[in-house]
């Protein structure tokens, strides 16, 4: 456990960190390239690079020649396809749509990897020489130095490309003024394809080269996007130099933390070094930089300008809720157990989607930390009910309060940091919360789940796994509890949308300037939206804890947040109905249960369909399924009326 901390050791760990740093740098420069050419924050960069690395790894293990070249071709094709199939149709869409589409691509790539190669780590075959070299008396793996050197060479080439060639000048010109480029007669589409190919090849190359120095595992690779985004944001999405320097800095710090974790003085929890410190670093770096630099960053990043999905006022909310309640009660009474469980999962998902409706749909703040907020509720509830042993209404109430506070914490940067920057910051925050808090054996539950005591009222235990009036589990009583909570949340959000506060929220989303000019306190409205969004996520977190009779860190991860965000957008982020549709679509919810049962499609394919569905919805139905269906129904009614009259 304990080791000495001499200069040689530090040097050795610095060198080790270069490999990780090079991987981040390669992906981050690619991110700068795609952002500059298409205005897309490509959160799928890590997942795409992982896909390339997996392909290469399989080619090598099966002995196919020219594996590296084939890998690069695959990367190029993936880059071109992403642009042509996803971002070109979205050329005129807002940054929110592009970000959601990119999350959909991430989920799809991730799902493909898990389906083909599994979720467990794979040892990647080495490309670079594995010998060590002696540097100042320290033996250092040669590949790390080579990787660092290659990244620096690649960045220098990129810099020269964008500085001195006509292609590079045209790319920069188009980033400045797409209108100017078009009026000059440049083919901006061709420029964009080329830039996506360059970015993808760069990411794929360093993915293949660096995979052996880490480990090939889908989630780790996908989440690389957090330090990658940190580096790119610090470089203002324009400077290759700052981006690469930050990437190496993060890589080296990462490695040094690993070194320090071996020191006896490093804080320990239950005999192991404090976890999650490496995930905390990019979050803190981002939070501090963004807060200090405030609005000094490029405009495109701060303006999540309309078009946002529409947010019409709920019509006939009361009768609809009554009908829904009756249907749900009947379903709980009559459906077999597996369908009941799917229904409960859908209701849970709907509550979480409602929280996205408030923060993103009503005020236009993109938060990728919704699961972290839910997790805060779950873990505080587990602690209050378990370690402190307090009776029933207190643990869930404490949990919900904790969720509101956590959400308010994220609203502090939201007062200064806007739009896509906030999305990046909350993504990093979600990762940090999962590893540093939920993954901590003492504050959270480490790698195992923490138990949640079931609801007990008047000595009666309402737990999903208990029999309820003689029926088999999952308990219908618990289903009713979830239904009641969902109805409460639906009522809250429907009321909010009709209230003056809701009107002010949508005013802020529509135009912060115009809202301020009518006397709306923009900061206060955002804070309230985060508090209400936190409340709803907290309710979801508490219900999760009860449903699974425990909380575990892997349920509240950032990828789950992204998936939920995507599902919420799919259903319709502007309306209560959208959140309910989103609930139907969540993993293990009603729709996927139906698909699995009726069509025999294995549940493993759920994430793949979810990812593809998110991408397709953003392109085809930007207001979400619920609003599109309502529109279609209305136009059908109008047509029928017209036919009836004629």
């Amino acid at each position: 456990m304990t080791s000495s901390l001499g200069p040689e050791q530090v040097l050795a760990f610095v060198a080790l960190g270069l490999g990780y740093g090079a991987l981040i740098a390669g992906l981050a420069t690619g991110l700068v390239v795609t952002y500059r050419s298409s205005g897309v924050i490509n959160v799928a960069a890590g997942a795409t690079a992982a896909l390339v690395a997996y392909v290469y790894s399989e080619l090598r293990t099966t002995g196919v020649p020219f594996a590296l070249v084939i890998g690069l071709v695959v990367a190029a094709v993936l880059g071109a396809l992403q642009y042509l199939l996803v971002y070109r149709p979205l050329a005129k869409a807002g940054p929110l749509a592009k970000l959601v589409a990119s999350s959909g691509v991430l989920l799809t790539a991730q799902a493909v990897i898990v389906l083909r190669w599994g979720a467990d780590p794979v040892a990647a075959p080495a490309i670079l020489p594995q010998e060590t070299v002696d540097l100042l008396g320290v033996s250092i793996p040669q590949d790390r130095l080579l990787l660092a050197g290659l990244v620096i060479v690649a960045t220098a080439l990129l810099w020269a490309l964008y500085r001195h060639t006509r292609f590079g000048i045209a790319t920069r010109a188009t980033a400045d003024s797409a209108k100017g480029s078009v009026l000059l007669g440049l083919s901006t589409g061709r420029l964009e394809v080329a830039n996506w190919v360059i970015a993808s090849v760069l990411g794929g190359l360093f993915g293949m080269l660096a995979a052996p120095t880490t480990q090939l595992q889908p989630t780790t690779f996908t989440l690389l996007v957090v330090p990658v985004l940190t580096a790119a944001l610090l470089g203002g999405f324009s400077s290759f130099g700052v981006t690469v320097a930050t990437a190496f800095g993060l890589g080296v710090v990462n490695s040094l933390i690993a070194l320090l974790q071996g020191q006896s003085w490093f804080p320990q929890v239950e005999g192991t070094p404090l976890p999650g410190v490496t995930e905390l670093v990019p979050f803190l770096v981002l939070a501090v930089t963004l807060y200090l630099r405030g609005r000094a960053l490029p405009d495109r990043l701060t303006a999540v300008a309309p078009p946002m999905p529409r947010a019409p006022r709920p019509r006939r909310a009361g009768p609809a809720m009554a009908v829904g309640a009756v249907v749900a009660v009947a379903a709980l009474a009559g459906l077999p157990f597996d369908w009941r469980q799917a229904l409960v999962n859908s209701m849970l998902g709907a509550v979480l989607c409602l929280s996205v409706v408030v923060t993103t749909g009503f005020v236009g703040q993109i938060s990728f930390a919704q699961m972290a907020v839910a997790g805060a509720a779950g873990y505080v509830m587990a602690t209050v009910g378990g370690d402190l042993g307090l009776p029933f209404p207190l643990p869930p109430l404490a949990g919900i309060a904790a969720a509101v506070l956590t959400s308010l914490l994220f609203s502090v940067p939201a007062r200064r940091v806007r739009g896509l920057q906030l999305a990046v910051l909350t993504l990093a925050g979600g990762v940090a919360a999962q590893r540093f808090w939920f993954g901590n054996p003492q504050w959270g539950s480490g790698l195992r789940p923490a138990n949640v005591a079931p609801i007990t009222v008047f000595g009666m235990e309402i737990s999903p796994s208990r029999s309820f009036w003689g029926t088999e589990p999952p308990s219908q009583g618990f289903g009713l509890v979830v239904l009641a909570a969902l109805l409460g949340c639906v009522f809250l959000v429907a009321w909010l949308r009709r209230s003056d506060l809701g009107a002010r929220m949508l005013a802020v989303r529509s135009s912060e300037a115009a809202a301020a000019a009518t006397g709306v306190n923009v900061g206060a409205v955002k804070t309230l939206a985060f508090a209400i969004g936190g409340l709803l996520a907290g309710v979801a977190g508490v219900l999760y804890g009860y449903t699974f009779t425990g909380v575990s860190a892997d349920r509240f991860g950032p990828l789950t947040s992204i998936a939920f965000f995507g599902v919420a957008v799919l259903g319709g982020v502007g309306t209560v109905g959208g959140a309910l549709v989103g609930g139907l679509l969540v993993a293990q919810g009603l729709l996927f249960h139906a698909v699995t049962t009726w069509f025999g499609i294995p549940p493993d394919y759920q994430p793949l369909f979810a990812g593809l569905a998110v991408v397709l919805t953003v392109i085809g139905s930007p207001d979400g399924v619920a609003v599109s269906v309502a529109d279609a129904a209305r136009s059908l009614r109008v047509r029928r009326l017209a036919l009836g009259e004629s």
Partner: protein
Amino acid sequence: MSLLDVRGLTAGYGAVPVVRDVGLSVERGELVALLGANGAGKTTTLLAISGLVGLQAGEITLDGRPVTALTPARRARAGIQHVPEDRSLFPSLTVDETIRLACRTRRAPGWVLDLFPALERLGGRRVAALSGGEQQMLALARALCRDPSLLVVDEMSLGLAPLVVNAFFPVLRRVAAERGCGVLIVEQHVHVALRWVDRVHVMAGGTVAASGTVEEMRPRIDELAGAYLGPSAYPTEGDKP
């Protein structure tokens, strides 16, 4: 056959037309001004010609060939260069880089340098650091480097001092005379426009209300001024200040 022929042009944003049934023409080597009050539809007409605003009806031909089906970039390559009101320059590029992008060569062609000798002096400067007049010069030079057959300039004098504006008009005249290029401008200063152009089209309420040579239009200057300042705003015989 005119260089540019616009017939029955109806265009606007979304489904609502801003301009209706516009007809105008520009000959080779001719300098034509589009006049009219704010909101008359001048800018929309130019945008429809270069393709940035969609056409709802009508036909646009360049050299007899219809361009209506072409994208803005293809129209630019076909010879229509549009300098928009906001100039749409590339602020982070240098003057040299802008020229290189437009010409595919490192230096502007001799005749462009001849028109704008100051280009050479400004070579390494970033566009964002240029003065308003220098930016307008670069916008014109960038368009001319593509050797257009039709040059369209929107509000050239916007935000520029009269002295600077007066320096640009001779340049446009020379472009028309020496390169045989047709030039169509939108100009808010009626007197300035009438001093330099060959022909004017006057727009009002989204369509062309009057067209004619400068000689034909000069007697109707009160009418033109009225379009800007309202009826009887311009001092006439019976209305001494």
